[in-house]
């Protein structure tokens, strides 16, 4: 019988990147797993195990396929190529390495191998592809960071001659940490565990709300051969974690009762083969379902999830200025409406992963995180250890966007490794990640805004209810931030904003790019359109008229003398707006069933924690060999902190970026630069880096006794200092060393100046606000309700662009997330727990994005720079919604604006005015 039977123990043989390998392992095993864990090809990434993300793309006999849905046995005798091999040996692969670096097409880098492998296959067939061909070729790989535009640029530009950009502040240099990301050698959370590590899996609740009891765990452990079974009873410290002081309320393992589907009740630890083969549904636990509330309106009628939080109200926020109620009644025009958004999943392509090992009386956790020091302190409390007994060694982070601030996988492996004194690893499955990680808060907002007959805003009233899920996480931050921001960047002399965070039986809602501000902009910006239309004013002009300017008071009474750049953002859009208005009029004049619309929205965002100290510290040293070492603790989750902080430090010190050796975050060797959130790293850690660079420079200049303008350069064993008066050489070994590591060391901190808010929310919440205005151009299909985006133009005042290319990358990535929020994303607990039911934009869903960078400076930011990370998605969704209404006359107040909702809205206005038939007739 001509039969190849791989049940034989011979292994599967194939050509891997030009080398013949024989891989032992069950032939029906996923090829992705076999390549990573058995053949050492860790450049093959896994984001979903279901063909949905493309991160695992490899070439089999030249064709891109998903390794996660291919069986190991199917590649017997085949030629398999992965990113590492292609980057090193393939002509197209090498060209793409250069081009991806040059265009900063890799942000976090987790999607990059899949993108580049797919692109190689395209370029082999079509060396000069069109944009459409690039989209078709890369349509199967999801990226959550870049917004895809730089990737398209990089593929279309591959092989073109390269000019390397160098420089400090202001230069579009390639990422200093980019090369490993584009050559497949970067190490993420799941890539670092030692071979002999045990594997841990978490047992989770299948119900939204239930009581539970365990069966005989000892017998289960003995029968299965597991090394360890963990429950709440095994937690040595306090079984509780959280991120906001006073709101630590989430158990590592639930105790007797679960409050959301996906909550952890236990964990199993054993050899990888054993644990992976285990049927987790057979774990001895029985649940008894209890009545649950998934929506805030139902929360008061179920039992309180937390003691002392009556009717499941977690907390409220409040800001009031002037007399909104009285003034509103005098307004010539009042616009009002109710708006809602759903849970939004962060959708980073890298699921949570960690490994831990014990070293004597200390525990070391390697993980993908946005907040190493907070993780350290949280784990110490859970394990009942002093803070310095925990070391966090962050890996590269494959996207975070807020959700990798909170503890997720880390405590489980830390506890298991602590008890067993063995290395233990974990990687969340995609559905585990989606069902248990934090989300963007769903919002229900009602708002009224009043203007006088000349178009000046008089007053605004805002009420927002935010579903904060079962545990607090960053909910209090959202409740506080939203009332401060809900006016938008506009003069609003009379104002009241109330917010409430409500607990429900859903995963905790936490931090996600914007902390509630994108949701509030989705109420305020549509109402601005309504007011402009009612006043008969151009929508952009109306916003310019009301834009906050230097010298104006914000709704918290804060007055900026410098750096309030929103008017500049609107001004920058004027020519584009005029052009787009004309284009739309022309397009619509020819009739047809698609209508073009344009929309505009503004946004602002305060950088750093709200009215709270949040310092960053930067340390740098010079070795006796003359090497400059920068200990840079700001987590780079793709946004570019490694590059930006190095550029700032290099400029302050007066040296080139390439002369600096970077030591990344590690709680043992690098000081605390705070968490990567709240758009604070460029501003706050950037200032610490500037101060540190200046301090080091100061010391060197003093040693040489020269003027401030001297040039300094470092060489093996000495520093040369040259100014108009002559040259000086500082022999490093001859100096008395600061410590065992560095001859010269400097360490500086920066904490932004803020003031507490009073009972009416008046005060100085942030030292810096960044501002933005964006416009969207799109077409609506009047019969299908589908929306096709044509272009986004984004104006951003960043104060000073430390690296303009990074600014563009952040903007494009933020815009793409705004597109998802507007048009397709909604997490439904228990229903959309994978990446084919939870849709994020693909490469075909993000139109060209034009970024207009404005640099109006800032009083506090380093070299005038402000934060940007969150600002960029705030105006996108409102601009899109406003454009949809401009196109078809219908507003979709409850997001996402999926085709069915858009069509229903169109049909509703057609029913209300039967003659309209979609002809442009503004509703209201």
């Amino acid at each position: 019988m001509a039969l190849t039977d791989y049940a034989l123990e011979s292994g599967t043989s194939f050509d891997l990147n030009g080398r013949t390998v024989t891989v032992d392992g069950p032939p029906s095993e996923r090829l992705s797993y076999a390549l990573r864990e058995r053949a050492g090809a860790r450049d093959v990434k896994v984001g979903c195990d279901a063909g949905d993300c493309g991160a695992c793309t490899v070439l089999i006999d030249g064709n891109p396929v998903c390794a996660c849905i291919t069986a190991l046995g199917q590649v017997e005798g085949a030629k398999v190529e992965t990113q590492v091999g292609l980057a090193a040996n393939d002509a197209a692969g090498k060209a793409l390495v250069d081009s991806f670096q040059r265009h900063q097409a890799a942000q976090c880098g987790i999607c990059t191998p899949g993108m580049m492998v797919s692109a190689v296959s395209l370029l082999r067939l079509r060396p000069q592809p069109s944009e459409e061909e690039v989209r078709d070729a890369l349509g199967g790989v999801l990226c959550r960071c870049t917004g895809y535009r730089k990737i398209i640029d990089a593929v279309m530009d591959a092989g073109k001659p390269v000019e390397t950009v160098e420089g400090g502040v202001g230069a579009s240099i390639p990422r200093v940490d980019g090369l490993p990301k584009v050559t497949g050698t970067e190490r993420f959370g799941d890539d670092v565990a030692p071979e002999d590590a045990l594997t841990l899996r978490v047992i989770r609740s299948p119900f939204h709300h239930a009581a539970f009891e365990f069966g005989d765990l000892e017998t289960y452990k003995a029968e299965t051969g597991l090394d360890l079974v963990l429950t709440a009873a095994d937690v040595p410290g306090k079984n509780c974690f959280g991120v906001i002081p006073g709101f630590e309320d989430q158990p590592m393992f639930a105790e007797g009762k679960v409050s959301f589907k996906g909550e952890a009740v236990a964990a199993v630890v054993g050899s990888t083969e054993l644990v992976n083969a285990l049927d987790l549904t057979a774990f001895p636990v029985t649940f008894k379902q209890l009545s649950h509330a998934l929506l805030p309106e139902d929360a008061a009628s179920v039992d309180d999830i937390h003691r002392n939080r009556a009717e499941n109200v977690m907390c409220r926020g409040f800001v009031k200025r002037g007399s909104p109620e009285t003034v509103m009644s005098e307004a010539a025009f009042v616009a009002e409406g109710s708006f809602s958004t759903g849970f939004i999943e962060h959708g980073y392509i890298e699921p949570e992963a960690a490994f831990a090992r014990r070293a004597g009386d200390r525990i070391e956790v390697h993980c993908c995180t946005q907040a190493p020091y907070m993780n350290r302190d949280g784990i110490a409390l859970l394990l009942g250890l002093p803070g310095d007994a925990v070391r966090i060694v962050p890996t590269a982070v494959g996207g975070g966007f807020g959700s990798k601030l909170d503890l997720t996988a880390q405590p489980y492996v830390a506890l298991a490794a602590w008890l067993l004194d063995r290395s233990v690893r974990i990687t969340y499955t995609r559905s585990e990640s989606i069902s248990s990680s934090t989300k963007r808060h769903p919002s229900q907002i009602t708002m009224r805004i009043g203007a006088d007959a000349d178009g000046n805003i008089l007053a605004a009233e805002f009420d927002g209810v935010f579903n904060t899920g079962a545990y607090a996480s960053w909910g209090p931050t959202v409740a506080n931030r939203v009332p401060i921001h809900a006016s938008g960047p506009y003069k609003t002399p009379n104002y009241v904003a109330r917010s409430a965070g409500i607990h429900t039986h859903t995963p905790p809602a936490g931090a996600f790019r914007g902390f509630g501000v994108p949701q509030s902009a989705l109420a305020q910006e549509p109402l601005y359109d309504d007011l402009a239309n009612a006043l008969g004013m151009d929508r952009l002009e109306f916003r310019r008229r009301n834009a906050l300017r230097n010298g104006d008071a914000t709704v918290t009474g804060q007055v900026f003398q410098k750096g309030m750049g929103i008017a500049d953002c609107f001004d920058a859009l004027v020519p584009h707006w005029q052009r787009a208005l004309e284009d739309a009029a022309k397009a619509n004049a020819s009739g047809g069933r698609t209508r073009r619309g344009i929309g505009i929205a503004g946004g602002w965002y305060g950088c750093g924690n709200t009215s709270m100290s949040n310092p960053s510290t930067i340390r740098a040293g010079v070795t006796s060999e003359g090497e400059i070492v920068l200990h840079q603790g700001a987590m780079d989750i793709g946004q570019g902190a490694n590059t930006v902080i190095t550029q700032i430090f290099a400029t302050a010190l007066g040296v080139s970026v390439s002369s600096i050796h970077l030591v990344g975050p590690d709680t043992d060797v690098t000081p605390d630069a705070g968490k990567t959130s709240a758009s604070r790293q460029t501003f706050i850690t950037g200032n610490a880096a500037r101060l540190c660079g200046e301090a080091l420079r100061e010391r060197i200049l003093r040693l040489a006794n020269v003027s401030a303008h001297a040039d300094i350069s470092f060489a093996d064993g000495w520093i040369d200092v040259v100014d108009a008066a002559g040259a000086h050489r500082i022999e490093l070994p001859s100096l008395e060393a600061d410590n065992g590591t560095y001859v010269l060391e400097a360490k500086e901190s920066y904490d932004p100046p803020t003031l507490p808010l009073d009972e009416n929310g008046q005060g100085v919440p942030y030292a810096v606000f960044g501002t933005t205005a964006q416009m969207a151009e799109l077409e609506v299909d009047m019969d299908l309700g589908t929306v096709k985006l044509l272009r986004i133009i984004a104006a951003h005042d960043v104060g000073k662009a430390i690296n303009p290319l990074l600014v563009e990358g952040q903007v494009q990535g933020g815009v793409a997330q705004g597109i998802g929020l507007a048009l397709m994303e909604e997490f439904l607990p228990g229903r959309t727990e994978n990446l084919h039911d939870y849709l994020i934009p693909t490469i075909g869903d993000v139109p060209p994005i034009e970024t207009l960078i404005l640099e109006t400076g800032d009083e506090h930011g380093p070299y005038g720079a402000k934060g940007l990370g969150e600002h960029c998605l705030i105006p996108t969704a409102p601009a899109i919604l406003n454009a949809i209404k401009d196109a078809c006359g219908a507003r979709v107040p409850n997001l996402p604006a999926t085709p069915d909702k858009v069509l229903a809205a169109i049909r509703a206005i057609q029913a209300a005015s039967p003659t309209a038939d979609g002809e442009l007739s503004p509703a209201s």
């Binding site: 019988m1 001509a2 039969l3 190849t4 039977d5 791989y6 049940a7 069950p26 032939p27 029906s28 095993e29 996923r30 195990d49 279901a50 063909g51 493309g54 793309t57 064709n63 891109p64 396929v65 998903c66 849905i69 291919t70 069986a71 046995g73 199917q74 017997e76 797919s118 296959s121 070729a137 349509g139 199967g140 790989v141 999801l142 992976n276 083969a277 049927d279 987790l280 499955t429 019969d783 299908l784 309700g785 589908t786 048009l823 397709m824 229903r831 959309t832 084919h836 039911d837 849709l839 934009p841 693909t842 075909g844 869903d845 999926t898 085709p899 069915d900 069509l903 229903a904 049909r907």
Partner: protein, 280 residues
């Protein structure tokens, strides 16, 4: 656990006869269906059977081998009756999925949203099945019996999809999803049309997917449209007035049932027009 990679259909049937075994083709449905688990059954991988792959005409019928991948269908040089099927092939998931997913896998998986089914229904396709008792051929319409249910009996393998040659027929396929790539259809429509010399519809086949447990041909509407001129008032009226009784759409995370019905009406008209105009 056994993993077999036979090189002939006979060997595959032989292996299937001896034991309960799972068939593996491209794996694009097989692996996602496993979730985090592993298979414990024996697996018979069909990717080693070269004879099951490829498209050829013999006499008055076209034979698409069961293991023909979507990429092969997409790139093949085929007459315009297959344009709808080729457009569907282009819309299946992504390049990665098209490079591995097979036509028979799509039919056997029997998802209501399988993009391959409406164009094949519109082509009047049959399914060829080999089993322990020999080979049988049944209409595709009878092959898929429900959500994830088919006529396939234990020990049987789909060996080909057979399509009658219809040189005069032109076709189109429209898929509606909430994003551009990697998207499960909210609704899709396939149409095959034959025009009279006067430009009226001489023959028409319309099939709709994702709006019922099994994709449906709209036979009554086809009857009503026959003789009308695509785009004419009669044509529009016939579509607007049609009850769409074959369809039983549901509300799900992708769209509401009402929306599906509304969208399908639009898609039908557009698909027929596109088929007539021969646009790709």
């Amino acid at each position: 656990m056994q993993f077999h990679r036979p090189e002939t259909v006979e060997d595959a049937l032989h292996l299937m006869a001896g034991q309960p075994a799972k068939l593996l083709a491209g794996g694009t449905d097989f692996f996602p269906a496993l979730g985090g688990r592993r298979t414990s059954d024996a697996v018979v991988d069909l990717t080693g059977i070269a004879s099951l792959s490829g498209i050829a005409r013999s006499g008055s019928s076209w034979r698409i081998g069961a293991m023909t991948r979507w990429a092969q269908i997409r790139d093949a040089d085929l007459p315009r009756q297959f344009l709808g099927l080729q457009l569907a092939a282009r819309e299946v998931g992504s390049i990665q999925i098209q490079n591995t997913g097979t036509i028979a896998g799509n039919l056997c998986n029997a998802s209501p949203a399988a993009d391959g089914v409406p164009p094949l229904l519109a082509l009047d396709a049959d399914v060829e099945i080999a089993g322990p008792d020999g080979t049988r051929v049944i209409p595709l319409f009878d092959f898929i019996t429900g959500v994830r249910r088919t006529e396939l009996k234990p020990g049987e393998i789909v060996t080909a999809v057979l399509v009658p040659d219809a040189p005069a027929s032109r076709s189109a396929f429209l898929k509606l999803g909430a994003r551009r790539y990697l998207v499960i259809s909210i609704a899709m429509v396939a149409a095959n049309v034959v025009l009279s010399s006067g430009g009226a519809l001489d023959g028409i086949a319309i099939a709709v997917g994702a709006c019922s447990a099994v994709a449906q041909r709209l036979r009554k509407l086809e009857e009503n449209l026959t003789g009308t001129v695509p785009g004419s008032e009669d044509f529009q009226k016939a579509i607007a007035e049609y009850g769409l009784h074959e369809l039983t759409p549901i509300d799900d995370v992708r769209a509401s049932a009402d929306y599906r019905l509304a969208a399908v009406r639009t898609l039908i008209a557009r698909a027929v027009m596109q088929a007539v105009e021969g646009r790709g």
